[in-house]
Symmetry: C2
DNA sequence: CTGAAAGCGCTTACAG
DNA sequence: CTGAAAGCGCTTACAG
């Protein structure tokens, strides 16, 4: 049978301990000088009696809310929904670790009303903008209001905090692994150029070559591979040049290449190795399963949250930022 | 060029107007006696100078947060994700209308830690439990803590607030429409019995018959129609009995029945009408498109939110509760 | 190292 | 109808 426990305030604690509220406050926050003896005594009491400081009151005194907002677009493609869900997951998890909570703000593309409301009401200390709402009207507004924020996805504008998949680093790692496995002539099949991902992934590909002292053959880099026909043409040249491995920039290209190779009756991995710089469920089920880079969206969300926490003055171990990608070695590079 | 506007407090407003804080507070809240003259004056000033009361301070004084929590399961089937997304959408929209914000709490099935945290920190005034976390351990906890909450989905336990699709009412309406369109012998093909939806939908079906004075033929009600074979058997009996319409309990059954009718070369709607008591994208694309009941998950979310608002003492127009279903008349009942 | 006191920006009995 | 004052539960200069 549970006894109805009364809800303690800081005054109660102070009284029962025969010290001042100041002292209790200091013991809890760790700020200000206090003898370790009294600190222990206070902390002990708090634990036993399960005292929980009132966050609202603390907030009022410090003008903080210990809430952050996650701005989610209302109008997104069905395929994106799990991206946002995973982001949210990571953000909530990390926020909870710092005893913050996550307020959801749903916005129609260019509509600022909900963001305005949450800011006017001072309900949050900082804001996370999820990918699709990277439009600058909202960013401008936040800068004007001097509200700390971070964007998920690359942002051109300097001075704005953002987090993104570390495509370059990841590509470098996967490429490096292939080179170390003994491949020497790797081809790279890119998607449409002009996108940042394309450039990052290529940079990683080249960097790995440079670091390992295996010069990359520029003639084996094919851009704009956005159709089966182009894929086929590239594959033919790759075979002719006797490359021993093909790196595709994403799962879409990978699938086309697999088709081409099948059509030409070239066996993977025995005759040529294959890897993708972007993972998808598909790749695992292919024959053979294709080695690829997996990006962890939940970790991305965590990173966004950590960046914001840092902006809000929380102490962050740099090591806490989780790795966001993972090389998944499958049969295609055996 | 924006001028740096200072953030007004209630004291500033009071001073500038030459009245007391009490008066300003009353003008805003509408509580307590105040002359309409002064009220107008205060309100006017507030609007012009864009004064926004500090919700935190208000909260501390009233021990309220003007936040509610939406508890979301972390482990759900992929097919459910859009359900939760739409719920969330509706909840956020309605909460905003009452100037509340929605805090997200993600929980692993039986794990209470996150819920505990948000409650211990007094970060929310009430809680919405989304469908999959209807497990009673969390509900028991909330009752113990005397935290107002509402569950999305039917709950057996009396005294617990819940909202759900109004299956009975909706079924009654669709059935009624069919009867009024001139059909007289309607068959009902049910799924597995024992489920609440099954019973609600049947009840609605029967109720419509009773109200319109067209007795339902019990021999035309088939339960446990969970395979093509059973569907076929039912359809044969329906045809033999010369029914003029078939009501299927969900889209799955409807699809099977469509198959059966096609196999038997019975044309819909010319030889027999067809309707489904549950909509899906599929039904629209069928030949012919099938009349059905559409349930609006966003509205369900709104209803959950409204129920909670009422529990929290907000004034709610009963009419505000949005209708959650809609009869979609398509070719199959023409 | 510790505490009394003022302050965060509201609300609300209470008195007039 | 209006206002002075106490209170919500914390933090934090300031003084000792």
């Amino acid at each position: 049978m549970k006894t109805e426990e009364k809800v303690y305030t800081i005054s109660d604690v102070a009284d029962e301990l025969g010290v001042s509220k100041t002292t209790v406050s200091r013991a809890i926050s760790g700020k200000g000088r206090i003898s370790s003896q009294t600190r222990e005594r206070v902390l002990e009491f708090i634990k036993v009696h399960d005292y929980q400081p009132n966050v609202l009151a603390k907030g009022l005194a410090q003008s903080k809310t210990f809430n952050l907002a996650l701005v989610l677009p209302m109008d997104f493609a069905g395929s994106e929904i799990s991206f946002f869900q995973e982001c949210m997951h990571g953000i909530c998890e990390m926020a909870a670790a710092y005893n913050y909570d996550v307020v959801i703000v749903m916005t129609e593309s260019e509509d600022l009303t909900q963001v305005r409301r949450v800011i006017a009401n001072r309900k949050v200390d900082g804001i996370i903008l999820s990918r699709s709402v990277t439009d600058s009207s909202i960013q401008r507004f936040l800068r004007e209001k001097k509200m700390p924020f971070v964007v998920i996805g690359y942002v051109e504008h300097s001075g704005i905090h953002w987090v993104d998949n570390r495509n370059q680093e990841a590509s470098k790692e996967l490429t490096g692994i292939m080179l170390m496995k003994g491949m020497h002539r790797l081809a790279l099949l890119e998607g449409n150029s002009g996108f940042r991902v394309t450039e990052s992934r290529r940079a990683g590909f080249l960097e790995a070559h440079k670091e390992l002292g295996t010069p990359a053959d520029e003639s084996l880099i094919f851009s704009e591979v956005d159709s089966y026909l182009k894929a086929m043409k590239a594959v033919e040249q790759v075979l002719e040049a006797e490359a021993d491995g093909i790196v595709c920039m994403d799962d879409y290209i990978t699938n086309m290449v697999l088709g081409c190779l099948r059509e030409k009756r070239i066996a993977v991995p025995s005759q040529i190795k294959l890897a993708s710089l972007y993972d998808s469920q598909q790749l695992e089920k292919n024959t053979p399963p294709v080695t690829s880079l997996h990006f962890d969206t939940r970790a991305l969300g965590k990173n966004a949250c950590l960046d914001l926490m840092a902006q809000l003055g929380e102490k962050i171990d740099q090591e806490k930022f989780p790795m966001n990608y993972q090389v998944i070695l499958r049969e295609s590079t055996k």
